[in-house]
């Protein structure tokens, strides 16, 4: 199951040129661009690992693409990679844009867990099949 998180996730995967122009848009807006990766695709997993430092003082998307390619080389096959733009200006101080730029080849999807509670209540939870394995060993053949 293709996971859909962040901007553009219902569109076909962005090409490198499209990523580059989105990143350039972020830079032109003055946002710090970050590259993050994770192998836990749960939608509530907000804390992804960071690739390097936030890129505050770059002027051109080429630099981000350089880092992104390095990150893909290291984690491309077995992690989701996303790019986010952080707006540090007063009043915002938060992530303004975030989109997936790379995903593992196989995405096994989620199982639905039902837990019977008191009386007739049910609690529902989703759990990624990938998360059955320990961290760092997911999405590998």
């Amino acid at each position: 199951m293709r996971i859909t998180q962040g901007c553009f996730s219902f569109l076909p995967d962005l090409t490198d040129d499209q990523i580059r122009s989105q990143v350039q848009y972020c830079i032109d807006k003055g946002w710090a661009v970050n590259i993050e990766f994770t192998d836990d695709p749960h939608p509530r997993n907000t804390f992804w690992d960071m690739w390097g430092l936030p890129m505050f003082d770059i002027k051109d998307a080429g630099a981000v693409m350089l880092e992104l390619n390095a990150c893909r080389k290291a984690y491309g096959e077995r992690c989701y990679i996303r790019v986010s733009g952080f707006d540090s200006s007063h009043g915002w101080e938060s992530v303004r844009i975030s989109f997936l730029v790379s995903r593992p080849k196989e995405e096994p999807g989620f199982r639905l867990l039902r837990q019977e509670g008191d009386g007739r209540t049910f609690r529902y939870a989703v759990q990624s099949y990938a998360a059955d394995r320990p961290e760092g060993q997911r999405y590998q053949a």
């Binding site: 890129m55 003082d57 770059i58 002027k59 051109d60 080429g62 630099a63 350089l66 880092e67």
Partner: protein, 319 residues
């Protein structure tokens, strides 16, 4: 600069054949030039920088090459990004940094770099202090320079022959890799004194082969330095009195003979000191000063310099 000069020689059948394939008959390079506004930068370069005739000629040649290349790329005649890395060699104060700034602007206008900013660095900015510190530091700088021009001043300090474990070597390797693989992302300009740069290139052949344009900056003549001095003064709303100008001409002649002469930079420092003496002279006198006094550098301000009394050397000798 004339386009398609040879088109008259093509026989009729040939012409008919090419007419199908080639859309535009002739390309007006002049129009191309005015569209990119490169001519303005070149003219500005001519206007604002005194002397440097060979440098300006080389830059015009490079600009012409790039302009033609741009047209060729648009027509699909070439797709490779040309190698644009350069080395500027010359004595201190000959305008290498200033020209590098203009170069960034020219490259930007021609579309060979996307942003056209100049990141000026030295060894300290690239090389780390302990193992594993250099690579991230160099990469950080390279990322900052992407889309623009990376200007490495006194590049030969990157390579220390006497210490084979010097971290400079690591920075050089990363630089070379990026210079080769990311040619469309940034242009690297290395600068430094001619003879030491030569030695640097000899011990790092990888650099020499990756650099397309070697530009040598000649020393300024006395007349040119005088013109530079006058331009600097005018920019600060000062001017020489006739005697002051004569004295300054003498000053240049004598300063050149003395150690640590740094062309235009020496002139700038001299002017700063002259302004100091000029202010002190008027401050010390009890007479009211006129506006004319405030903007005129006189003979006395120039002649008080220690250059006329033998310079630094004579001052230190008695000790």
């Amino acid at each position: 600069m004339e386009a398609c000069e040879g088109s008259g020689n093509i026989s009729h059948e040939d012409a008919a054949e090419t007419a199908i394939a080639a859309p535009p008959e002739a390309i007006d390079l002049r129009r191309e030039l005015s569209e990119t506004h490169v001519a303005e930068v070149l003219d500005q370069l001519d206007r604002e920088l005194v002397g440097l005739a060979p440098v300006k000629a080389r830059i015009r040649q490079i600009a012409a090459l790039l302009l033609v290349d741009r047209v060729r790329r648009r027509l699909g005649l070439s797709s490779e990004t040309p190698t644009l890395h350069m080395s500027f060699t010359g004595n201190p104060g000959t305008g290498k940094t200033t020209v590098a700034l203009r170069m960034a602007e020219i490259l930007h206008k021609l579309g060979f770099v996307r942003k056209g900013h100049l990141v000026s660095v030295t060894r300290d900015d690239l090389v780390g202090q302990y193992i594993g510190h250099t690579a991230p530091k160099t990469k950080e700088i390279l990322k900052k320079a992407m889309g623009g021009v990376l200007f490495i001043d006194e590049a030969y300090y990157l390579y220390r022959q006497e210490n084979e474990r010097d971290y400079g070597q690591e920075a050089i390797e990363i630089l070379l890799q990026v210079m080769e693989n990311q040619r469309e992302d940034l242009v690297v300009i290395l600068a430094g004194y001619a003879e030491r740069m030569d030695r640097f290139f000899r011990s790092n052949p990888g650099f020499r082969s990756r650099i397309a344009h070697h530009i040598d900056f000649p020393d300024y003549s006395d007349g040119e330095l005088m013109a530079i001095g006058e331009t600097m003064l005018t920019a600060q709303n000062y001017h020489f009195s006739p005697e002051g100008a004569a004295a300054f001409q003498n000053y240049i002649k004598m300063r050149r003979e003395q150690p640590h002469f740094a062309n235009a930079r020496s002139i700038r420092n001299a002017i700063d000191r002259m302004r100091l003496r000029h202010a002190n002279r008027h401050f010390a006198s009890d007479m009211p000063v006129s506006i004319e006094d405030l903007v005129t550098i006189d003979e006395a301000d120039v002649l008080a310099s220690r250059v006329f009394s033998g310079g630094l050397v004579s001052e230190r000798e008695p000790e």
